[in-house]
Chain length 192, copies 2
């Protein structure tokens, strides 16, 4: 087959996959994890059931793939946010704000069953570790610049930040998220 | 029946219930949630299967009861810690330390399946709300005494504290827990 034809197939596959992920996420958000079937997903995506099964074996694996894409997107966003800021203190603040925003927007979308499934997922644990490592490096840089306390290890401070900012999932306004970031940063300030 | 006899039965029932809860918790810790059956629990508790079913309908409900008792115990502990301390700042610090200790000791006991089951549990949500309300009231008292910032609502600060201190579940030493509490308290200090 000519190269162009392969590329067309590859593009098509990506588009179908993308459509399956989005359809499933929307259906689960609407009906709950336990009320969505592979047949409904195929119908709503506009493909045959047999085609759907060529891509995914069950609803859970579709959701994991969907979640994996969101996580990759969030990590890329945080890296971009970090690289736009200048100076160690600003970089740290920008990433903490970005992470708090993600926490706020990620919560309350889905039901408890889905959260239970996703939180057992290794890709979630892996992504949390990546975010925590990124924050740890930024904390270390800021500590070296004298903008963050150096009496506690950067790794421990990063653990503190990630947990504190997950609280953004319970906050109702963007202003509250800004205040949460300010309080978290106050915890990081050099001791007098 | 005479009153004494009723009391004896009541005491016996409580003891059997207690034995069931502890046996189940130990079995689940050892084998994992999905590998424990009602028959094993009855056998290890030293009672008949029929008796066990008079107390609980399945393994999950035993675990919920066990977890409920632990939560009640933790809340009572935090109230005692609070009431032993004098002065608003000390009370807040003592309760934050107590909560961080509980977070540290509660983690890593069980497998992910069990955590998923328990976290869908309303009694967990209710207990978290009670802890958060207690911390909110202590924060409000300390803010009035000028020992905590008053530019952020006590409720938001309490949400920050609870989430930040859950990080203790990932810390390996008591010293690290002390440092986490210190960093969290630093976030609460009045802005200059």
């Amino acid at each position: 087959m000519p190269k162009l034809w392969n590329e067309t197939i590859e593009t098509h596959r990506r588009e179908v996959r993308h459509a399956i992920l989005n359809t499933t996420a929307a259906l689960v958000a609407e009906r709950g994890l336990l009320n969505v079937t592979m047949s409904q997903i195929a119908e709503q995506t506009g493909i045959g059931r047999a085609t759907l099964y060529k891509y995914f074996q069950d609803v859970e694996s579709i959701l994991r793939a969907w979640h994996g894409e969101r996580i990759a997107h969030h990590l890329a966003h945080l890296i971009a946010v970090r690289d736009r800021a200048t100076g160690p203190g600003e970089r740290l603040e920008a990433v903490l704000e970005g992470f708090a925003d993600i926490s706020r927007r990620s919560r309350g979308h889905f039901d408890a069953d889905l959260m239970a499934v996703l939180h057992r997922d290794e890709q979630v644990t892996g992504a949390q570790a990546q975010v925590q490592d990124m924050i740890r490096d930024l904390v270390a840089d800021a500590a070296q610049a004298g903008e963050v306390r150096d009496d506690v290890e950067p790794g421990e401070l990063a653990t503190f930040c990630v947990h504190a900012l997950i609280a953004a999932g319970n906050l109702s306004s963007e202003d509250a998220v800004r205040r949460l970031v300010a309080v978290t940063l106050a915890g990081l300030r050099p001791a007098d």
